[in-house]
Symmetry: C2
Subunit: 362 residues, 2 copies
């Protein structure tokens, strides 16, 4: 049957939930203990459905199972696609006692989670992330939502899942580019809070890119553990939690400029983390050697190290001005005091920010 | 300046908030103690804006105030209109520290509240309800949301306001038909839980229809108080709170059949309460005299006593099948054990339900 690698509890009081990590879980692991009603709506996309839908159904024995299959891509993370989920739920007469199950990557998880947060003012959901990025990112934190033409993730809700099932076998069908994008977020956990994980990553980056099951299970576990710690300390993003956005303010600007879906989220975050390291050097917080080490690890994961062709300083500044972290118009950024120690601040010299933007644009 | 009539605290632990009821509040009452950031987005509609927008702005001295004006009507309570609010917030660069203020009736309140629940995953909001229905209904409970073509309020969130400001003067510009619709919900509070309020209503129904300020203040206060009690006992609608839906399962079916906006919500609820009373008689819970008394009060408020022309039993049954209260396909209804004592149940004879539907359809 399946091989359980690790299990983790995300501790949020009465909203606590387990993350089950293993190989061969899809098709054999019983998820019905986390389904309180008789109905399950699996939300997936047209890429993932042919690969894993039948196996996912087998995780809900004895339940009424219906399926909504969305188009695949960040460009569909919008109202129109979200409505397909509500259409399916209402056409199949799912009540407020239904459970949604998100089978796919971050886009499917964000949309199914947001649909669960809003359907009849809130129903439970289960995450079955099938990409490395979603396994190490959206598994923990309860963030759900959709994009708006004027900004990513501008509309959404905090909604915690009942359980998260991570089957590392799903990474076997993931394009190498998406593995790299996922590794960007994995590296992030090392950079913000866990220096010893950085050492481990430097030793194991090749095994991870080669999809070694044991290494993947370990990296996913340590990533989720780090995120769970941060989220437990700050569920609604009052302060500490913002460090999870290392590289994201630059990264979101890149994604928006490039047009959703042209740069992968993780790719943009990879470049964004290099930019944050660059600004941290200019501000005198970390050494040139630290920056070189961070850059080397990010590059060894196969991630880009420059903003998109044609993107200028002004594009960054205007796109970064709508970031959610901002307070009364000031751009707040996550910087590093040391490798493995990040914090959020608006206290930096504007000319240093400009110099960083200049260094990464062409 | 203004005359404060009543003040009520809705007790929900850390989500508690005040309801301020008075005359002349708009234009002079300072709402900034409930605004934590520097930005306010007033959401209103094209009917209310010319009457009260300038006065509402005066309640937020010293703040950046922007406005989104929606088209007026239940038929606009949908994604497209909701997006106008997000467009406005993003175009004016409102951050997650903004406060939304809903100035208008229930549709404006439901949409502004839902926008507040979702914008950047949740920002605070203030309710300034300007119709009797919204003053006695959506002021308390935190229910927000929009309609779906397959059902009313199917997409939404629980999101409590920071404060509610009720200026009874706004009822002076309300069409008589909407006053009657609001009185349906007022009467509902008597029927579900407060028999002594029924006595008071029978004595004061004419003063209420004549928009007597003192009588209105009292009726609004007692309605909000009753709803606040029920909601405090059951914030997320686990059980007791469902009694607030007296007449609503029938009523929603009527509204959907008639097409949103053709019957007012309160009109449909008025007829729906008569239907609930009728079924309560057939089930042997209340006497024929009780039903006659309830019907007389509902009629004296100026409310309709028949389902729309052309609506058949089967229309009711199929539309009621998607109601949120249903569990695994069974239609649950709010019935009365006595006038002033309601509960929710699926325990009734199907032939009695059919007889009730038959009696109210032509």
């Amino acid at each position: 049957m399946y091989k359980l690698l690790k299990e983790l509890k995300v501790d949020l009081g009465e909203r606590s939930y387990p993350i089950v990590i293993g190989s061969g879980l899809l098709g054999s692991y019983d998820l019905t203990p986390w389904v309180s009603g008789g109905q399950v709506m699996i939300v997936t996309n047209e890429t993932v459905a042919p690969l894993y839908l039948e196996k996912a159904k087998a995780c809900f024995p004895g339940k009424q199972i219906d399926v909504v299959t969305l188009p695949d891509g960040e460009e569909y993370k919008n109202w129109q696609t979200l409505n397909l989920i509500f259409d399916g739920l209402l056409e199949k007469r799912h009540t407020r006692h239904t459970t949604l199950a998100a089978l796919g990557g971050g886009v499917v998880g964000d949309m199914a989670g947001f649909a669960a947060a809003c359907y009849q003012r809130g129903v439970p959901f289960i995450q079955i992330p099938t990409t490395l990025l979603s396994q190490v990112d959206s598994s923990v934190g309860g963030k759900t939502g959709i994009n708006h033409p004027l900004g990513k993730n501008m509309v959404g809700a905090f909604h915690q899942p009942q359980a998260v099932l991570i089957d590392t076998d799903t990474l076997g069908t993931l394009p190498a580019r998406e593995v790299s994008a996922g590794l960007a977020e994995v590296i992030k956990y090392g950079l913000i809070r866990t220096p010893e994980f950085l050492d481990w990553l430097e030793d194991n980056i090749d095994a991870l890119r080669a999809l070694d099951t044991q290494a993947l299970g370990e990296a996913i576990y340590r990533s989720c553990e780090c995120k769970a710690e941060v989220v437990s300390l700050d569920e609604k993003e009052g302060g500490l939690r913002a460090i999870l956005n290392l590289g994201h303010t630059f990264g979101h600007a890149i994604e928006t400029f490039a047009g959703y879906g042209n740069w992968l989220h993780g790719e943009a975050v990879g470049t964004g983390m290099m930019m944050a390291a660059d600004l941290s050097v200019r501000e005198g917080h970390i050494s040139e050697a630290d920056r070189t080490r961070a850059d080397a690890l990010i590059r060894s994961a196969g991630l880009p190290d420059k903003a998109p062709e044609g993107m200028a300083e002004e594009d960054f500044l205007s796109l970064m001005a709508v970031d959610k972290k901002n307070v009364d118009g000031q751009i707040r950024l996550v910087l590093m005091r040391a490798l493995g120690n990040a914090w959020v601040t608006a206290d930096y010299a504007p000319e240093n920010l400009r110099a960083t933007l200049k260094a990464f644009t062409s």
